[in-house]
Symmetry: C2
Subunit: 446 residues, 2 copies
Amino acid sequence: MADDRKIEANTVRQCVEHIAKGTISSEELVNHLLEQVDQTESELRAWALIDKERLIAHAKMLDDIRRRGEPLGALHGIPVGLKDIYDTADCPTRLGSDIHANRQPASDCRVVEKLKEAGALIMGKTVTTEFAFMHPSDTRNPHNTDYSPGGSSSGSAASVAAGHVQLSIGSQTNGSVIRPASFCGVYGFKPSAGIVSRSGVLETSGTLDQVGVFGRDVGDIALLVDCIAGFDKHDPASYLAPKPAMLQGYLSDVPVTPTLAWIDMPYRDRYSTDAAEGFEELLDAMSGMVERIPAPQSFAALIPCHKIIHEYELIRALDNEIKHHWDKISDTVKPTIEAAQAITDEQYQEALHIRTAAVEWFEQFFHDYDAIVTPSALSEAPLMGSTGDPVCCTIWTLCGLPCISMPLLSGENGLPIGVQLVGALRQDDRLLRTTRHVLQHLHDDK
Amino acid sequence: MADDRKIEANTVRQCVEHIAKGTISSEELVNHLLEQVDQTESELRAWALIDKERLIAHAKMLDDIRRRGEPLGALHGIPVGLKDIYDTADCPTRLGSDIHANRQPASDCRVVEKLKEAGALIMGKTVTTEFAFMHPSDTRNPHNTDYSPGGSSSGSAASVAAGHVQLSIGSQTNGSVIRPASFCGVYGFKPSAGIVSRSGVLETSGTLDQVGVFGRDVGDIALLVDCIAGFDKHDPASYLAPKPAMLQGYLSDVPVTPTLAWIDMPYRDRYSTDAAEGFEELLDAMSGMVERIPAPQSFAALIPCHKIIHEYELIRALDNEIKHHWDKISDTVKPTIEAAQAITDEQYQEALHIRTAAVEWFEQFFHDYDAIVTPSALSEAPLMGSTGDPVCCTIWTLCGLPCISMPLLSGENGLPIGVQLVGALRQDDRLLRTTRHVLQHLHDDK
């Protein structure tokens, strides 16, 4: 497997097998990916930091483990991109902010511990928007560098789309995984809230922050989530019950044809014309599987409810930065922070109550439907200077539901548009099973 | 599966399948096991505490998870016995000592978190000797209640042997898993040091304390260790690299016939006659697979080296109890504690150096041999009043090597004698693979 094109043609799972057998080494894989980085990174700016020397040394160490016949991990030898809000003990974690230009965490976050235990490498830290919020980063869309890759997990999505890495990790508080996945034409998966620990990850909203991942194969991202999932008593959202088996779920056959719901969302008049047309065609291709239903009246209240919780918690999480480093906060974010000061405790409590009711509503809803099919974003990627609108993700993120974006459509500028499937809370395995069925159905349909 | 005998005939893995399919419920399994406890517990005294109400409520909760179609764990609905030195948030953890008669931990130890995440239940707390050390408990050997079950994991071994539970968890600082497994005629497995976290477990020796398990099927205990293994930065022995896949290892076929070593141990003249004869017969049955080799001269120094490390660390770990509760410490343990005060820092440091050299020696050794076959104990169980001699375990525990005791022989009193296999550090999967081959070979030989 000296032929580099072969590396690209392999899924992560196939690469893991090759590395286990010794037909490629982790070092070869890393070197191949570093070449891809060298070719396009100066234009794309997906990476906040890649420490090539340390990376190659780590790959050699993992190859040595194999040569000595020691146990191999489920991601043995696979480099993973990591959004620069996940703490790493061996390199800085800058949170996309000049305030933290020299920030060096004392220890790895739980996700990095889990990755290392699975034999994965950290390829490097991917560019994030400032505090994983809305001020655009310099990262560009690999499909057309005039366009935005979306945010806030800009570099995690762009690096996978550009072939710099096969897998990466991002985070989503509103639409920061699904939207960049849509814009960059890769798979994005945000598991149910509480499945993956956020210990050692920048907190912007304890209620809403969730871990998500990117890849070019659904089975691969399912495997990645299996490796990083697990209870952590230091994360208040983490829960002590069996977790969905992601890869096993993805590989399962559906017991009966799944029933999907297309909901006429409150923001449906904002879909771009090309996106709306694409979705109509898709629904035609999925006819018999999808039921169109109007949005329940309660949906309209959920978007402002998310905003209240997010901003109320954000200004408390960033208290130190706001108080002591105001001049180093971007002008994009300042007005939001100022306005958020006016949110009252009562408004916040009411928003939490509305959220709880919505979670219960969805629990009932998913007795009747296997998944919601819905746009990942309003349109193709916007031009550089904006990260795009996260509204197509807001309600699902608010309720912690598992979401996956599939790169199925393209728009008038030839840029990707994602199709989102949303599943029942903590039934991510069922969502992945449904996803495989849908992809198979659409593939057979061609 | 209303027939109780069927429950007993099933491995844990089969029970997990039955529970997943709904052919038995966790509640039925728990009730069946509670009946077994009721029949013999007054005589055996294997349990420090069983909270029946809470246990049945937990089983119902796990059955509800299945009914709702939510994710099931790898040990979903299976009750596990837990040595009473593992912290539990919902019931006391008394460490086998009156000093701690009212000790209620604030949170679960990591092993219990892992068990709960795997869908297992805590059947109850099993009796341990005082501070998991050498003062005998009241627990009796289920094969003959005049005899000791061994220690310190007395209740964990006896409860499995008595059919009170299919799986249990103990700990080993010298021979506290392998020896009671041998005396009680069940499988005992102490994985390599650092595989399972000791956070929230009584510390008696940071260097030597190790987690171990009991069961009646090797595949079942392999599965149990898979469920509780994992990196934990709060345990200094825990290491951040891929862990051996235990069940997968056990189920693997050996690539070539394994080479075992029978070492003429420094304490071989202390084997009881019946045990020595049993071993000779076993070696005959395994001829062609086992090479007999003399013990290296360095072995003799390792047993006192273990004693120095153990006792030096023990009196520091029990500092509070020794200083403030001396009158409540048993007379069995007091002389050891008093003598241990004389161990100097230099002696301790020298012992640690000897240990390091031994670990390196074994690393080389296991390039040539797949496992060491050796007695689990000097003889059958002794009469009540002693926990027996751990010497057959000392050297392997000192070096953190994975050990498994197989209930293959019996002695002149008709009590079980275990055969121990010892493998390469952190290659527990290889040891389990070898174990399956050996068991298969002996079975075919009959």
